[in-house]
């Protein structure tokens, strides 16, 4: 497993590469339509200072915001590209190449080990910018690598999800990532380590119906769309208007599906606190080891 040795020497790519925008750029909030100064927005972790709308964030930003060490993803195992030689109106191979150029990532997941306010953790983050964060073999491999690394480092696994679901262009191979990622959560849990899932906007389909619902702790970001079926499909099926706030994090919280809805600014501290509270056994074992 060459990726295991690779993480020791993480391949650091600069996060700033994508942000070479002028400092005076203004951004309009899609929720309240107010103009926000770009630098202001970045400082607020892409949360609107006027209406607290949580804008979508990329995987690189997630790692940067969460880990004390900042953004330093490891090399992930490769999955076969375009296993079905899929072609719709465009070749999947071309879509992949374009997504790689756009995001500068290999696929829709990044993984990095590190600490969260001093608490050891392995963090995996999905990237909605990469083909809608869709889950194919590469994402499955990435999540499995994250799980194995967590076990190896005796660290909790934290996953930020953002996905439209399965990657159709990989057909049933993408469907099989559901059991494969379920196995990933089992590996971590069997090692006595916590799995914490942070569901961000949007998380739907096969990702929601697999590892993303199997955390020991389930956290949602405010306003995040989280669900199994798409709103349009549901409307067409039941011919009913969807209730206010349907499939939003707060709705899932009310329905007992999420433990917490945590504003982005408090997320890092919340994760660190939860890990600290859950890992009593580790601390006690360490204390016993020290006295022995």
């Amino acid at each position: 497993m060459n990726w295991l040795t690779e993480f020791v020497r993480p391949k650091i790519r600069t996060l700033l590469g994508r942000r070479d925008v002028p400092d005076n750029l203004w951004v309009q909030c899609p929720a309240c339509e107010q103009m926000i100064f770009q630098r202001e927005l970045e400082k607020a972790l892409k949360v609107c200072p006027h209406c607290a709308h949580h804008m979508r964030a990329g995987a690189a930003e997630r790692l940067a915001w969460t880990l004390d060490e900042g953004y330093a993803p490891i090399e992930l195992p490769k999955a076969p590209a375009d296993p079905l030689r899929f072609r719709d109106t465009k070749r999947y191979a071309d879509r992949l190449r374009e997504a790689r150029e756009k995001t500068r990532h290999d696929d829709a997941i990044l993984v990095a080990p590190g600490t969260i306010e001093g608490q050891k953790a392995v963090v995996a983050a999905m990237d909605f910018e990469f083909m809608g964060g869709s889950m194919g073999a590469a994402v499955g491999e990435g999540l499995l690598a994250a799980a194995r690394l967590a076990v190896l480092q005796d660290a909790p696994l934290v996953v930020f999800t953002a996905s439209g679901g399965a990657r159709m262009q990989e057909g049933a191979i993408s469907l099989m990532q559901m059991p494969r990622t379920v196995i990933a959560t089992r590996l971590v849990k069997e090692a006595g380590l916590p799995v914490i899932i942070v569901l961000t906007d949007p998380t739907t389909g096969g990702v929601t119906a697999s590892f993303a619902m199997l955390g020991d702790i389930q956290i949602g970001e405010p306003g995040a769309l989280i669900g199994f079926a798409g709103a349009r499909v549901i409307e067409q099926t039941v011919r009913e208007k969807l209730p206010e706030g349907f499939q939003r994090a707060e709705y899932l919280h009310e329905h007992g599906i999420l433990d917490l809805v945590v504003p982005r600014a408090e997320l890092k501290a919340t994760l660190a606190r939860l890990i600290g509270l859950l890992r009593v056994r580790q601390i006690e074992t360490a204390a016993v080891d020290a006295t022995a």
Partner: protein, 318 residues
Amino acid sequence: MRHFLDFEKPIAELEGKIDELRRMSEPNGINIAEEVARLTEKADKQLRLTYAKLSAWQKTQVARHPERPKASDYLRALIADYTPLAGDRAFADDAAVLGGLGRFEGRSVVVLGTEKGADTESRVKHNFGMARPEGYRKARRLIELAGRFALPVLSFVDTSGAFPGIEAEARGQAEAIARSIEACLEAPVPVIAVIVGEGGSGGAIALAAGDRVLMLEHAIYSVISPEGCASILWRDAAQAGAAAEALRLTADDLKRLRLVDAVVGEPLGGAHRAPETAIAAVGRAIAAELPGLLALDPVALKARRREKFLEMGREGLG
């Protein structure tokens, strides 16, 4: 009245003629018998030719054929002493998921099935085979029951997918599916799944993460329906045929990709033409798989099942 698919029209015409001749009978009987024999041979040949090279889209239609044997037909024919068990112990019983205890070739088993129904009344009753969270929670409960009593699990999958509804979402459809997949993977007993008709996405894998996954020759197994895929990627649901090809959803494709373990042959013209023959073939295939799995201890069984899924997708069609 037999239901014919569009591409079966030439066969339908021939068989129509044969029926007509048979009804005429009597007057110059001998000539009619000869003509019937000639036409029957022609119809058989046509059927053989048609079914030897079904496109992915044609297979999709065969997999969804209204007269195709349903999960309940397999249960009735293959399982003795079938005793249905109901409910998720929390909210309701979901008729889209059949489940219970019974005997397969004398051995006590837990059986599961997604049931589409065979006529308007039963289709509505079973919600067209689209399960709600309580269906997957019932499945999980029964798989755990199987584990407690060391009973193999046999699962017959035929569903267009999980039900997309407001209440289903509110009650945690995604979580229910995830836990059902987990239950399959964690079972300390053999889990054999058979995709008998439509293997529709998450709603299918929820009951099919087994040691051995068998697939009928003309069944389909896909991450999304061809229509759904076409309307998203082609922005035109009419491109479903092209999507069906691209998705590689046939039994042959799945076998080549090593996503299913074996393909069970269907009688000429599809399972709907000779349901008993198709069901018996599935019974034999299950009987062939069971002993090898029963010989493994629970730890080895689970490890092997996991390894199988972990190996999936590491290679494409090449």
